[in-house]
């Protein structure tokens, strides 16, 4: 008989805990931000002018960010996240880290761009866009 009561109690606890957890899960989705926000779409808008300036719609372009510039501080998680988002919005263009390609994207803070431009004088034609985005066209090896 005691066993039966233990079983009943345990079942009731499972039901209550699950019900409570499901309500908590619903409430916690508020922390994800507003349904009207779409950070990925914002990122898409940010890269749209750069995509239009590229002379091709598929191929490979280079990519550098603050983490590529020695001595510049950066948030590693943000830096990696922005790299992933850049590839996502640039699809079907493949982006690879570095500036070895003819066309390269710079996602650089002002400080990082300043440092980068000092060490790359004359190597690239630079097209600047809003939001600290740059397109570097290699003009010399």
């Amino acid at each position: 008989m005691k066993m039966k009561w233990a079983q009943r109690l345990f079942l009731v606890l499972i039901v209550i805990a699950s019900l409570f957890a499901s309500i908590q899960t619903l409430i916690s989705t508020k922390d994800l931000g507003s349904a009207s926000d779409d950070p990925v779409a914002d990122w898409e808008t940010r890269f749209a002018p750069l995509k239009e300036r590229l002379p091709f719609q598929r191929g490979v372009v280079g990519y550098i960010s603050d983490s590529s510039i020695p001595g510049v501080s950066y948030d590693a998680a943000n830096d990696e996240g922005e790299y992933v988002l850049a590839q996502y919005v640039m699809s079907p263009i493949i982006i690879v880290k570095g500036t070895d390609h003819e066309w390269n994207i710079g996602n650089l803070s002002r400080e990082a761009y300043k440092v980068w431009s000092q060490s790359n004088v004359g190597k690239f034609e630079v097209i600047a866009f809003k939001g600290n985005i740059y397109l570097f066209h290699r003009v010399s090896k």
Binding site: Q7, S22, L26, V40, V84, Q87
Partner: protein
Amino acid sequence: MILLAVIFLLPILIGGMLVHLLWPERDFKILFFKAFLGIGLGLGLSSLLYFLYLFFFAGGRWFIFVQLGIFAILLTITIWKERKQAWPVLPRWNLTRTQTILSAVALIIFLISLASTVSYLLRRKQGDWDAWMMYNRAARFVYRDQANWLESFSRQMDPIFHADYPLLLAMNTASGWDTLGAETPRVPMIQSALFAVGVLGLAVGALASIKSTGQAALGAIILWGTPVLVNEGARELADVPLAFFMLATVVLIYFYVLHKKPALIALAGLSAGFAAWTKNEGGLFVVAVGVALTIAFFRQKPFRVLFFYALGLTSPFAITLYFKLFLAPPSDVLSSGAAKSLQQILDLSRHAEIIKFFWNQFIRFGSWTGISLAIGVFPILLTYFLLFRSPIQAQHRRAYIAGITILVVQALGDYAVYLITPYDLNWHLSYSGQRIVLQVFPLITFLILCASQAPETVFESNQIGANHAARH
């Protein structure tokens, strides 16, 4: 909006009719299970067909007519086969008090969690991190430059984007965009939600048929009351779809043990093949199922069972193998090289770290937030099993042998991958470990609830429900 509904309804109906034609069981609970099985198998089939279609007609933009053609053929065959059959009798809802209460709670939890899924999807329209990195990115590559879709698997792409990942989700997303003629986030959103609801429907249908209505309701309460399953189901990733195919495969093996219909093993093979087409871990699952069937049916015509398994498996697995061997870039997980891998295998501290991580997962996975429980769902399931365990009938035993063997082989395979991973072990475990456990969580829940007494047996002494539950 109508077209958006059609692009999902077509594969689901194709899947449902295919399942029904191969397994024309008409019991209402089985029909319920088959309807949900049809979601996953239909989406899997549609994804494979689109992959094949692209080889010949990339840029054609008329895939919907392929789907319509298949739908028409299957509908004709179904109507022809069903013409002399009586309509399935709707069950009489003579639920006991326990069944009514549990079903009502399960329905409430389902609705709350469905609201969570919708809320999550609306706030993360393009999915989460891995969706941008892999599945939706791959879909964009295919859709945006369909004529050159094979470039999606370029070896120039950074390995972190996993261009080698199987394509079930990406192909469905791309084909949906293709039909709509627009790249709307609604396609991956709906696909994600369908698999999330599908995995629940599979478990509920199977438990209702194998055990009782009360046990099915309890299954729903546990599964969709677990935040990690609800949240992951809305992230547009491949783990919940993989969990769907893993659960479907094992349930179909269970039904084979009960009904002895070879078509069920063929459907299990198809489902396992789609697991491989969903995620790399699915390839391991295919092997695990093969081993499990050999062991479980060792004394009962194993070759016959394996033949039907291979029959269902062949098409999706052959296409997956073709993709992995001839199109996809090499997997980064196996990139350490033999010497370094051996060194890592011999490093005892790595073993200790992996075991510790999974022990913590066992204790804390899916912890029910809000009530400050430091304990996860597995200790709760284990306690439930210890309190409610019931003797397993001899005729059901093979199903458990198969299910447990699959879990063991899958766990060993995942363990081996972590041992030889080229990434920092701590990072790799914390990045993917929880989702590895999530993939088998519905399956473990199903097996435990099948091996336990139903709630009716403890709340009702001599009512219909208790008798019904005791029958199993």
